[in-house]
């Protein structure tokens, strides 16, 4: 018989905790119908404990947390988080250097906020369409298939991390390489954007097999 090894110890009644500050600061009249119904449900149901990586502070960002978790190895969250902080600092430093060296009319165009750069770079790295192996009559074909948002984000982050781990010089550190890749992705150049284009080209060349999909 099969038993589950990893499952949630909360039963189905438990609800997720609300971390969004803006929602908590709204008064009762400003809420919409569904939000009012949700609040009334929360008065009767038990609520799960908030995990330690979820905060309602201004500095917490779910994408950055997800990226740090993906960078983490052997559960060393301290190291992953410090690497992430150093990466953001490196990005800021580079952008500030460019800012101070640029002439007056170009100073507006340089983006200095590392969070904005991170989000924009990730968005540029996400593929639009993916490939799925489908077997028909003994042969496996690569069929172009639309991807969900989660899958796109995951692929972008995965490509970024593998690129930075494998294609770097022995002496360069991870934050340095990551900041370089993020800035390149922000400007739509670099190895990860090329990888995305290669995937799109494959999908485009296999577009005849698109009818093999049944969903």
């Amino acid at each position: 018989r099969l038993t589950q090894v990893r499952w949630s110890r909360y039963n189905a009644q438990y609800l997720e905790p609300e971390v969004n500050r803006e929602l908590l600061q709204k008064s009762w009249d400003e809420l919409s119908e569904e939000e009012k119904a949700e609040q009334e449900l929360k008065a009767v149901r038990p609520i799960k404990a908030a995990p330690s990586n979820v905060t309602s502070s201004v500095f917490s960002d779910p994408m950055i947390s997800k990226f740090t978790n993906m960078m983490m190895r052997d559960g060393n969250k301290v190291l992953a988080r410090s690497l992430m902080a150093q990466t953001l600092e490196a990005i800021k430093r580079k952008q500030l250097e460019k800012y101070h060296q640029a002439p007056e009319h170009e100073k507006d165009k340089i983006e200095c906020n590392p969070y904005v750069i991170f989000h924009e770079a990730l968005k540029n790295c996400q593929p639009v369409i993916g490939l799925c192996s489908i077997t028909r009559g003994g042969k496996t074909y690569q069929v172009p298939v639309p991807l969900t948002d989660n899958r796109k984000r995951f692929l972008a982050m995965k490509w970024l991390i593998t690129e930075c781990r494998e294609n770097k010089h022995r002496r360069t550190l991870m934050p340095e390489k990551l900041s370089q890749e993020l800035l390149q992705a922000f400007h739509n150049e670099g190895a990860i954007i090329k990888k995305k284009h290669v995937l799109h080209k494959m999908a485009e060349s296999n577009r005849a097999y698109a009818h093999f999909r049944w969903w």
């Binding site: 639009v128 369409i129 639309p146 739509n188 799109h200 485009e204 577009r207």
Partner: protein, 117 residues
Amino acid sequence: MDGLYSSWRQKKRPPLLRPTRPLVLANKVANRREQPGEATCITEMSVMMACWKQNDFNSSACAEEIRMFHDCVAKAEKERREQAEKAEEDTWGLRENLTSSKANKLLRRFPNITRYV
């Protein structure tokens, strides 16, 4: 079942059926694909790919087509989910045919008892 073996002497012909296993109803039904289904959003995808071919895979140049493709995909996903939900609620209202998964669940609850202890 007795008709296979009982009157062999009189009929002088071997029995028509020689079952390898005992003729007992199993507690599961074979998987049946309900409808083959069609691939959705192919026109949008081909439009987007044509745009890509012209503009050398530049995402910013084809933003409109990509947006339309995403919209089509989201709509198709929503429709599929609604259809699945509708199929879910209807089944215990005794439609003409059950899906194989529903039939299996019912049979697991009320199985055919073959052994007596």
